[in-house]
C-alpha cells in the first residue's frame, strides 16, 4: 500500500495496539484530535480512552507516568508534541527512564517509546525546529531512532515498541508527508542498531539520518555527473549506532562526510569522526568532513536557509573532501 510517513506510523501504532493490549498511547492532543500531525488519528475511536489518553499539558508527567506504566508492565508510547518541548521532561528521561534498569539491577525497567517530531526546514515557529538528538545519544540506557522513509518509519516504530529499553523516536517533520512509498500491510520490524546503505558507491561515504537523507541523495546524483560515486548510509538508529557498517564503508571508500542538521559542536558527527579516527585513520585518503547545522539557535523561517544543510552545501562538502 502506498503510504506517507504519517500513515505508516499510524499503521504501526494501530497494529501493535491490536496485537498487544499492553500498548497504550498518551500525550497532548493524541486522542480526540488524533495528534497535531494526525499520527494517532482514529486510534481513540478504535481503542478507547483507556488506551489513547489525552493528557494535561505536562511533559514531565507524560514521560514520568509512562515510566511508571512501563515499570508496571505496560508498553506506553508517549508523544511529546514537538522536540522543542521535550526539555521539560528531560529529567524524567535522563534521570529515570535511562537509569531505572541499572538502578534496580534489572528488577524494574522502562520499555517505553517517546515519539516526537523534530527538525527544521518546515518554516515553523521558534522551538518547533529542534534537532537535539545528540543530547540523548550521550545518555547511557537510551536508544535513539530516526526513520527517513515510510517503510522504515513503520518497521522502526514497531521494533521500538517491542524493544526492552526506552527509545527516543524522532520523526522528521519535513518528511511526514514528503512522499509515499509501498509499505507492506502486515506488521514487520526493522531491527534497531542497523544502518542501511541507501546508495552504493566507491568514492566517499556519506553518513546521515532522518531529513538529511533526501538532500544527500540529491547531492549524490549531482556529483555522479562529475564522476564521483558516493555511498550513502542512513544510520536509522543513532544510539547505539552501527559502528560496523560505517567502518566497513569507510574502509572501502577511504573518505567520510557526516551530514546532520543538528549544530556542529558535540553533534553525533563528532563522535562518528572520532571513531573513524580511532579505528581507520590509515584507511583515509582525505580528512573527514562535516556538513551540519550552525552553532546558532535555529533561525525563524526567514533565516532557515542559513542554518539548514541543503544539497548545495552537501555538494560543496563532498567536493572539498574529493579535492583535498
Amino acid at each position: 500500500m502506498m503510504l506517507n510517513m504519517v500513515q505508516a506510523l499510524n499503521q504501526a501504532l494501530r497494529q501493535e495496539m491490536e496485537k498487544d493490549p499492553k500498548v497504550v498511547l498518551l500525550g497532548e492532543d493524541v486522542g480526540v484530535d488524533g495528534g497535531v500531525f494526525r499520527v494517532t488519528e482514529g486510534l481513540l475511536e478504535k481503542f478507547g480512552p483507556q488506551r489513547v489518553i489525552d493528557t494535561p499539558l505536562a511533559e514531565s508527567a507524560i514521560v514520568g507516568a509512562s515510566i511508571g506504566m512501563a515499570a508496571a508492565g505496560l508498553r506506553p508510547v508517549a508523544e511529546i508534541q514537538f522536540m522543542g518541548f521535550i526539555y521539560a521532561a528531560f529529567d524524567q528521561v535522563v534521570s529515570h527512564a535511562a537509569r531505572l534498569r541499572n538502578r534496580s539491577r534489572g528488577r524494574y525497567t522502562a520499555p517505553l517509546v517517546i515519539r516526537t517530531p523534530y527538525g527544521a526546514g518546515v518554516k515553523a515557529l521558534e522551538h518547533h525546529s529542534e534537532s537535539t538528538e545528540a543530547l540523548f545519544c550521550q545518555i547511557p540506557g537510551l536508544k535513539v531512532v530516526v526513520p527517513s522513509t515510510p517503510y522504515d518509519a513503520k518497521g522502526l516504530l514497531t521494533a521500538s515498541i517491542l524493544d526492552g529499553d526506552p527509545v527516543i523516536f524522532l520523526e522528521p517533520t519535513k518528511l511526514y508527508r514528503a512522499g509515499r512509498q509501498d509499505v507492506p500491510e502486515e506488521s514487520y520490524a526493522v531491527p534497531l542498531g542497523q544502518a542501511k546503505i541507501v546508495r552504493e558507491g566507491d568514492d566517499i561515504t556519506i553518513v546521515a539520518w532522518g531529513a538529511m537523507i533526501p538532500p544527500c541523495q540529491k547531492a549524490a546524483e549531482s556529483v555522479e555527473n562529475g564522476g564521483v560515486f558516493p555511498e550513502i548510509l542512513d544510520l536509522r538508529t543513532l544510539s547505539p549506532w552501527d559502528r560496523g557498517a560505517v567502518l566497513q564503508s569507510v574502509k572501502k571508500t577511504g573518505r567520510l562526510l557526516v551530514v546532520h542538521e543538528a549544530p556542529r559542536t558535540c553533534g553525533l558527527g563528532a563522535e562518528i569522526a572520532a571513531h573513524i579516527a580511532e579505528k581507520a585513520i590509515y584507511d583515509l585518503k582525505a580528512p573527514v568532513g562535516r556538513v551540519t547545522g550552525q552553532d546558532i539557535t535555529v533561525p525563524y523561517s526567514k533565516g532557515e536557509e542559513y542554518y539548514y544543510p541543503g544539497p548545495e552545501r552537501i555538494i560543496r562538502g563532498i567536493k572539498k573532501i574529493m579535492e583535498s
Binding site: 508527567a61 515510566i67 511508571g68 524524567q92 547505539p240
Partner: protein, 359 residues
Amino acid sequence: MIEQFDPIKGERLQILSEAGSADPKLEPTLSGGELKKIYSLMVTTRAADIKALRLQRQGRLGTFAQSLGHEACQVGSAMAVDRKDWVFPYFRDLGTFITLGLPLKNYYLLWMGSEDGNRIPDGLNIFSVTVPVATQLPQAVGFAMALRYRGESAAVVAYFGDGATSEGDFNEALNFAGVFRAPVVFICVNNQYAISTPVSKQTAARTIAQKAVAYGFSGVQVDGNDALAMYAATREALEKARSGGGPTLIEAFTYRMSDHTTSDDASRYRTKLEVEEWSKKDPIERFRAYLNGKGLWDEPFESRINQEAEDLINRAVEEAESTPPPPPEDYFVHTYKDIPSQLKDELADLQDFLKEGSR
C-alpha cells in the same frame, strides 16, 4: 474520617495525645499484637538509623539521610499498606522499608555505595530509591494508572518531603492523579525543613494538605508523630483509592530531629530550643505510653525487642559488609536489556586494564 479534618480551617488529625491517650472515637481497631508490632518496628527503625549514623562516622557507610523522628510517619503509614499495593519511597524512608519487610542488608548496602542494595527482592512491591526530589511522583501516578488499567484492586503510596511540593513534578503528578482519578496516596512528610529551607519559604499556604483542594481531591494534615493517626489516615486513603475513589494527599506534620544528611549541620539554621521543643513530642515515647496504658508494655518486652533489633541490625551490617562489590560486568549488562557491541568493547577494555593493574 479524613473529610472531618479540613486543612483550610487548620484542623489536624490526631488520635494519640502527646501523653499517649487515644481518642476513643478515632482509635483504629488493631489487635494487641499489631500495636506491639508498630512499637517494635519503630524501635527497630530508630536503632537501625542510629547504627547507620555510627557506621557513617566510622567511614563504613556513605552519606545518607537519617530518619530520626520520622518513625511514626513511616511505620504507621506502611502498616496500612497491603502486600499487593505498591510503594514509591523517597530517600528518607527507613521505617517504611523495615515495616514492608525489605531486608535491612539492602538498606545498608545501598548507602555503602552498591546498586545491589537498590535491587528490591522479588515479591516486595517497593520501587527503587532515587534522589531527584519529587521525580518519583509522576511515576507513581503512571504506575497507579497501569494497576487500574489491568483491573487490579491495588493502590500506590508515594512518599516525599515538604521541599518536593515546590517542584514542578509535584504539580504535574497531583494534577494528573486528579484528572485520571488514579489510585494513589501521596504522603508528604512535612518535617519542616528541606536541608536549611523552612517550610514557610517553600509555600505561602498554611498547610500542604490544602493544596489537594486545587487538584480536586481530599487532603488531610495528620500529626506525623502519632503512629495511630498515620495508620488510620493511610488505611482510609488506600481503601478509597483501591475502590475507585481517587487520590488523597496526606501531610504528615512532623520534625526532622537529625541533620538533613550526614553531610549537613542543622545547627547553622535552627535553634537548640526548637529541637528541644520537638523532642518532647517523640513518637516512640508517645506510643510506649499508649501501650503502657493498655497494659501491653513492660520492661521485659522492652528489653526483648531491643535485643531483637540489635541482633537484626548486627546481622544486616555483617551481611552488607561481607557482600563483595559488584563485578564490573554488572554495571555494563544492566544498562540495556541486551548489551550493545560498543559496551562489550568498553567492558573488555576495562577488564584488560584491571588485569594489567593486578600484574
